[in-house]
């Protein structure tokens, strides 16, 4: 119960921070950190795959509603949540005990977590910005947006993880 409450709190705080602060950041006109992804990246593995997907969808929808993006974040978040188990398995193989853990530096180690977070963020941001631009006519700006934003998001994610680890 306590865990559920803290997860709801994380959900709300990340949504508010995203909507009111991070959405206003357009570094060099391109890069916007999408930190709300942190919720999807680090939700404990005891949460079922379907619940993960549903909460990711809900979070994306909240972001969509506030930033008038009509389902872009919902779609990207759902996809990321759907692929999360595969992504984690790609970089982190647990030795058989199968205990559910919370993805993060603490459980996975820095290297594995960075690689996992990088790929997940890249995937999510690629989808977000592709849907937003909805054209490959501006490949360079699109690439810069994806790359810059991924970098920013990843930096914030690592910063939070670092602080949490202490």
């Amino acid at each position: 119960m306590n865990r559920t409450l803290s997860r709801i709190l994380t959900f709300v705080v990340l949504a508010l921070v995203q909507v009111f602060i991070l959405n206003k950041i357009h570094l060099f006109g391109y890069a916007t950190p999408l930190l709300y992804l942190y919720f999807i990246l680090t939700l404990g593995q005891d949460v079922s795959r379907n619940k993960l997907m549903l909460s990711a969808f809900a979070l994306g929808l909240v972001i969509d509603v506030f930033s008038n993006t009509f389902g872009i974040h919902a779609a990207a978040s759902t996809l990321t949540a759907f692929l999360r188990p595969a992504l984690i398995r790609l970089f982190f193989l647990r030795g058989g005990d199968g205990e559910p853990f919370t993805p993060g530096i603490h459980a996975m180690g820095v290297g594995a977590f960075v690689r996992y977070a990088l790929l997940a963020t890249l995937l999510h941001h690629t989808l977000v910005f592709c849907l937003e631009y909805f054209s490959f006519a501006y490949l360079l700006p699109l690439a810069i947006s994806i790359g810059g934003s991924t970098l920013l998001t990843l930096m914030l994610v690592m910063a939070i993880e670092h602080v949490k680890g202490k």
Binding site: N50, L54, V65, S67, N68, F70, G71, I72, A75, T78
Partner: protein, 280 residues
């Protein structure tokens, strides 16, 4: 059939995934131009009210600069009004030429009251501008409602103002229409009433007449609002009238004031000092 159901159950997350992605994409591709979709945008009541609360909160962060900007603008406008009034007077009184007008190159410095008292006999007002902002003692201070007082002591960033509500205050005023002169004094008590002294008995005055600065003192240009005559009676010696003036400046809640940098004041003061020196 059973196999199919089993398959579906086993892969139910695929179904959910497809469903959620379907919803997202339908929203993305159909609601974009759909007028009825307003509930899914930041214009709906829930998000709107959240955003309004946010605006209400963040709005306060800008109030300070917004206020300063308005005060600055006010100062400019006030200076313009002075200029225009002078120009108007000079055309009305003939012979006063552009040269005369140029003798009133008012700089107006907006300031904020940081400390204010009204309860004592000798009240002072502290404002947040000082010599660093070009203020010196003996500069007129006004508010948007009327005359406030005269700067008295200036530190680098603050100044003490001697307001009308101070026993030492003594501002040269005149009554309009009628153009009779007198000195404005305050004898304590009611913060909205002061006395105009030395107005001769024969002067044509009546209740409701306006009291404005005379322009005789170097602190204020002519014609700044001071107050309105509320009552008058003959003085004890029967030579003049004691006029009770309803002050137009609300001293009890003074917030923004303007300091008049009267360039002519220096010159007059120099002249006075010179005369005084010679007398010694």
């Amino acid at each position: 059939m059973k196999g199919l159901l089993e398959f579906l159950y086993k892969h139910n997350h695929w179904l959910l995934f497809i469903l959620l992605e379907g919803i997202s994409l339908v929203m993305l591709f159909s609601l974009n131009d759909y007028q009825g979709s307003v509930w899914l945008t930041s214009a709906n009541t829930a998000t709107g009210s959240v955003l309004e609360v946010k605006q209400r909160v963040t709005g306060y962060f800008g109030l300070q600069s917004e206020n300063e900007r308005l005060a600055e603008q006010n100062a400019q406008l006030t200076a313009q009004v002075f200029g225009l009034q002078q120009a108007l007077d000079s055309t009305a009184l003939v012979r006063l030429t552009a040269e005369t007008v140029s003798q009133w190159p008012f700089g107006v410095v907006p300031a904020t009251v940081v400390e204010n008292s009204t309860g004592k006999l000798n009240n002072y007002i502290t404002i947040n501008k000082g010599t660093a902002d070009g203020l010196r003692p003996d500069m007129g201070v006004i508010s948007s409602d009327g005359v406030v007082g005269v700067t008295y002591r200036c530190s680098r960033h603050y100044s003490l103002v001697l307001p009308i509500l101070n026993g030492k205050s003594n501002i040269s005023c005149k009554v309009r229409p009628g153009e009779s002169f007198g000195y404005l004094e305050w004898l304590g008590g009611d913060t909205r009433t002061a006395q105009l002294r030395d107005v001769p008995r024969y002067a044509d005055i009546s209740v409701g007449d306006t009291v404005v600065t005379s322009g005789h003192s170097a602190f204020f240009p002519e014609g700044l609002m001071v107050g309105v005559i509320r009552d008058f009676e003959p003085s004890a010696d029967n030579l003049s009238n004691n006029i009770y003036v309803q002050l137009s400046t609300p001293f009890a809640h003074l917030r923004h004031v303007f300091v008049i940098q009267n360039a002519g004041a220096d010159e007059r003061q120099e002249l006075r000092d010179m005369v005084n020196d010679k007398r010694k």
